[in-house]
């Protein structure tokens, strides 16, 4: 199917005396993560309420799965709302109900499943989210991260097609923030639902999102892949992005994805001017998926943090290191050809110790799998091409097991 899952066509909405949506045009693709960014009070939650059908536009049209919402019958709207789950910013768990009852509620009230079927489904979700054995606890007895996971279990238990996340990481520390992002990304991959996310976590959220939309004054200023937003010339977008962007990735303490690109450009300038060769090395912590699954995402993020710190100890002063993805780091190695980069990878493989990275957290895991790719940058080569070359399996790809 070619049509987008949700499409806003010139939607206007006034609430009281406030003109909130001023001709919003937006397409939300199916099965992807779409992130909505924008200043507070720019109509993001009003936008969410329109998607779910709690508010209707004053003018314009919302096309849901190819059908205009205004032409939907009551039953069809009800059906449409059944495709959604909504994860609130403050979780909105029922604090007088146990974890089990919280997760079971949408099934108990909204479906005609038997008690046994509900129990099986709830336990399956709790298990998947690493929450087994806490059925009888109340939300207030759980840590913030666990409450988030319970809220996520409740959102996932009805197997929704679309999940709306309203600032899921606000107020969390870098490890937990990254853990929530990695959770959203993992479950989105696993279950294939569509995610619409409101977030202020720039640039962290760029690591998981496939489409970025910037809402300002009720209009969409930007819509496209996150890497493109940096190249937009609009001063408003530029000011917003740079205002929020931390030059360092909070979790790893390394440069951000954008910073990495900048490092490459700087090295390329030096190559042009001083003819000093450089290479890029891409390190991927392959074991992280297994760690996330077995030990939870928080442990996974802690191990990623330790891994980054360990790598940083082995790079030279003139090299620069940045985060490339949820489990990937990139090093721009100055004055180094491909052979030097290869030697560096071997030295790194010998020097890294599993104990140092995991702090003894995963004794059952015999070794940490790390893959490394490297490529020397030819003069004038585009960043993406060199990066693709570094990651290509045929030429320069190494796999280490760190014990």
């Amino acid at each position: 199917m070619t049509h987008p899952l949700i499409e806003f066509r010139n939607v206007h909405k006034t609430l009281g005396s406030t003109y909130v949506l001023r001709g919003t045009n937006l397409k939300i693709p199916r099965g992807k993560i779409t992130t909505i960014i924008g200043k507070s009070g720019t109509g993001k939650s009003v936008f969410f309420k329109h998607i779910i059908g709690l508010l209707t536009p004053d003018a314009g049209e919302i096309i849901c799965d190819g059908k205009p919402m205004s032409e939907m019958t009551r039953a069809e709207r009800w059906e449409w709302r059944g495709k959604f789950s909504y994860m609130f910013q403050n979780m909105a768990l029922f604090d007088s109900m146990t974890v089990y009852d919280n997760v079971a509620l949408p099934l108990d009230q909204g479906t005609s499943l038997s008690r046994d079927e509900i129990r099986t489904k709830v336990h399956e979700r709790l298990q998947q989210l690493d929450l087994a054995g806490i059925d009888h606890k109340y939300p207030s007895e759980l840590s913030g991260g666990m409450q988030k996971r319970v809220a996520m279990a409740r959102a996932l238990v009805t197997s929704p097609e679309i999940i709306l996340f309203d600032e899921p990481t606000t107020g969390l520390d870098p490890i937990r923030k990254n853990a929530v992002h990695s959770m959203i990304s993992e479950y989105q991959n696993k279950f294939g639902f569509t995610v619409i996310l409101i977030s202020h976590e720039i640039p962290d959220v760029f690591l998981i999102t496939q489409q970025l939309c910037m809402l300002d004054e009720g209009k969409i200023l930007f819509q496209g892949p996150p890497e493109d937003i940096q190249d937009v010339n609009d001063p408003m977008i530029h000011a917003f992005i740079t205002g929020l962007t931390n030059p360092q990735d909070e979790l790893t303490g390394m440069g951000t994805v954008t910073q990495g690109k900048q490092d490459y450009q700087n090295a390329m300038t030096r190559l042009k001017d001083e003819k000093s060769a450089f290479s890029i090395v891409v390190l991927t912590l392959e074991s992280i998926d297994a760690i996330n699954e077995n030990l939870g995402h928080i442990k996974g993020q802690m191990i990623l943090k330790n891994f980054s710190a360990a790598v940083q100890q082995h790079i030279r002063k003139e090299d620069s290191c940045s985060r490339r993805g949820l489990k990937q780091l990139m090093i721009v190695r100055q004055n180094a050809g491909a052979e030097d980069a290869r030697q560096f990878c071997f030295r790194l493989a010998k020097a890294l110790r599993k104990e140092q990275i995991t702090n003894g957290a995963v004794p059952e895991l015999p070794a940490l799998n790390i893959s490394a790719g490297f490529a020397e940058a030819p003069l004038g080569a585009a960043f993406d091409d060199v990066l693709a070359n570094a990651g290509s399996r045929e030429s320069t790809f190494l796999e280490f097991k760190i014990q």
Binding site: S17, Y19, F84, S85, Y86, A92, G110
Partner: protein, 282 residues
């Protein structure tokens, strides 16, 4: 004429305000209050009708039984205690009044009729308001403030059906039963103070009760208790459900204000409704 931009068109423009005059300054607040009151009454009526209809929804039986436990069963002790002492005081006061006229023999009918017709339904309703009504408002108010009610909406669960209907149904079941309990224990209280302590003839006490109390008195008491059940549960649930719409306060304070309003409004409404229902019954 300059072309219209999006900001100038009729969609986003707030309505033009008429100029302020002395008359408008005098009558506007009054008008606002009246409109607000009518709005609230209308909203409460719709709220009640919706809740009553949804009582008959699926999976409601278990929730109603749970609420009967909270509103009814857990209020038994306090209703019994208040009923007992009300009966004792009635026995004592009426004894000293009647003894002046040498007609202590009618103590039984005086105690029984005043309790069954008036005090039973009214005091039971006020006690349930104080114990269960206030907690209903606070619970729903907190659920509103912590977005739990919005979460229900997004799960396609009607919050009125899920949260309010069982409470109103449970109140309708519990109020008459607790009123009957209050009546019985009140008469027993009157017996203890009048007969046991003051020495009124035991046979006369019960004979007078039997001869003067008629089924219409008892039915009248039950009708009142049913009316009070609907009023109290609606006011308490409504105040909690619309905690977020309060203009006088926000957050935790709005819950406390809503609870206070619920209790005060319920008590006043019980007495007003008592007068109206009594005037129809007599």
């Amino acid at each position: 004429m300059a072309p219209m931009t999006t900001n100038d068109n009729k969609i986003g423009r707030p309505l033009a305000q008429p100029p302020e005059t002395l008359l408008s300054r005098l009558f506007e607040p009054l008008g606002q209050r009246v409109v607000g009151l009518v709005n609230n009454l209308g909203a409460a009526a719709i709220f009640l009708i919706k809740a009553l209809v949804l009582i008959f929804g699926r999976k409601q039986f278990r929730a109603i039984v749970q609420q009967i436990n909270i509103i009814g069963a857990k209020t038994v002790n306090i209703v019994a205690l208040v009923g007992f002492f009300t009966g004792m005081v009635m026995g004592l006061q009426l004894y000293y009044t009647l003894v002046k006229y040498g007609s202590t023999g009618v103590l039984g009918s005086a105690v029984a009729l005043s309790i069954i017709r008036e005090l039973g339904p009214v005091l039971t309703a006020i006690m349930i308001t104080a114990r269960a009504g206030s907690s209903m408002t606070a619970e729903i108010g907190i659920q509103r403030n912590s977005e739990q009610i919005d979460a229900l909406f997004t799960m396609r669960i009607d919050p009125i059906g899920y949260l309010i209907s069982p409470k109103i149904a449970a109140a309708i079941v519990s109020f008459p039963i607790l009123t009957a309990l209050f009546d019985l224990i009140g008469i027993l209280g009157g017996y203890i103070s009048g007969v046991v302590l003051m020495g009124v003839n035991e046979g006369a006490y019960f004979y007078r009760i039997q001869s003067s109390v008629e089924m219409t008195d008892i039915n009248g008491g039950f009708i009142k208790s049913l009316v009070f059940a609907v009023i109290v549960s609606t006011i308490c649930c409504y105040q909690g459900y619309f905690t977020h719409m309060r203009k006088d306060s926000y957050g935790a304070r709005s819950v406390s204000f809503a609870t206070t309003s619920a209790v005060v409004l319920s008590c006043v409404s019980i007495l007003v409704a008592d007068y109206i229902v009594t005037s129809f019954l007599l």
